[in-house]
């Protein structure tokens, strides 16, 4: 799951995740999507950019 807030500054970033993922999967440039969503600081941008979603990988082992 995407961390709720940015580790460095504390801004809530998880509320952008669903939107971000959908748009990036549709082929948009991640940088342009983040600019559009208003994520300006690089600490917050790396939260979304570097996130790997593991829920689907782990769920069969619960």
């Amino acid at each position: 799951m995407i961390p709720v807030r940015c580790f460095s500054c504390g801004k809530v970033v998880s509320n952008y995740w669903v939107d971000y993922k959908k748009r990036v999967e549709a082929g948009e440039n991640p940088a342009a999507v983040m600019d559009d969503l208003g994520i300006t600081r690089y600490c917050c941008r790396r939260m979304l950019l570097s996130h790997v979603e593991l829920v689907d990988v782990l769920s069969p082992y619960q």
Binding site: M1, V4, R5, C9, G10, K11, V12, S14, D56, Q62
Partner: protein, 264 residues
């Protein structure tokens, strides 16, 4: 003291605070980060959790969700006059959550016992439930201070810099300063280098232009009693209310000090 607002939205603000000392500007900044109490989830009674994340991690995720805080009707639990710190309706709110998969559980699915207290953002994903997975819990939110945990921190990325002053004299328009400036705010005209009024605020006082200039025509300094503030709120307060509450906290402390000194 003067305040000149440059930008103001619900969640963020940029303003120039002038004719104050550094100590005062810094106390405003620190109060926004650590001394304005907010509500955040402190305890969670988890009745059922068959999701992929552990109870502890679930509680952490819940605690980091900003809740819209009403500073008038709630008091920090440690100094609650009604219960003395044990927990009562004056200092706590309960939020309940029950969900069944498949589907993403969002912060808006939490049901608050006080309709005024709601998650600031409804679309924060809590956990992705697969088919047959269940989540039933009750969470208790307290008022607390940012200095105790980030979950109570209302101010995000609060910072200030001194107001830059750039003076240009006898410029030969060589253009070296303009190409060196990382902010790109210096423009070369026939009469020499210029910086427009609204661009000046973007100067980061790096002094690269000063170093590049061979004839020392450009001088960079800053105003020691004017500060350019940038701040954001996590949503528990509007940006405006957060600054006002920070100022109230400082005022309250100063009054407390005067009271103590009077009794001596």
């Amino acid at each position: 003291m003067e305040v000149d607002i440059l930008e103001l939205s619900d969640r963020s603000a940029k303003f120039v605070l002038s004719n104050v000392r550094t100590a005062f500007a810094n106390s405003i900044r620190r109060a926004m980060i650590s001394d304005v109490p907010t509500l955040a989830i402190e305890y969670a009674n988890i009745y059922d959790n068959t999701s992929v994340i552990y109870d502890e991690q679930l509680a952490l995720r819940l605690s980091l969700i900003p809740l819209i805080t009403d500073i008038e009707s709630y008091v920090p639990q440690a100094r609650c006059p009604t219960c003395g710190g044990e927990g009562c309706p004056v200092c706590e709110v309960s939020l309940s959550l029950s969900a069944e998969g498949p589907g993403m559980v969002f912060s808006r699915d939490m049901i608050s016992s006080d309709p005024k207290i709601q998650p600031a953002d409804g679309n924060i994903p809590i956990v992705d439930l697969k088919k047959g997975q269940k989540l039933v819990l009750e969470a208790i939110a307290h008022m607390g201070y940012g200095k105790d945990s980030v979950k109570w921190q209302a101010g995000i990325a609060c910072g200030y810099k001194n107001m830059p002053i750039v003076s240009i004299e006898n410029c030969d328009a060589c253009g070296k300063c303009a190409s060196e400036c990382p902010k790109g705010i210096i423009h070369i005209e026939e009469s020499g280098a210029t910086i427009s009024e609204e661009d000046l605020i973007k100067c980061s006082i790096c002094r690269l232009c000063e170093r590049m200039c061979e004839i020392s025509a450009i001088k960079v300094s800053f105003n020691e009693s004017a500060f350019v503030f940038t701040m954001e709120s996590d949503g528990s307060y509007s940006a405006r209310d957060l600054v006002l509450n920070a100022a109230k906290v400082i005022k309250g402390r100063a009054e407390e000090l005067v009271g103590i000194l009077d009794r001596l």
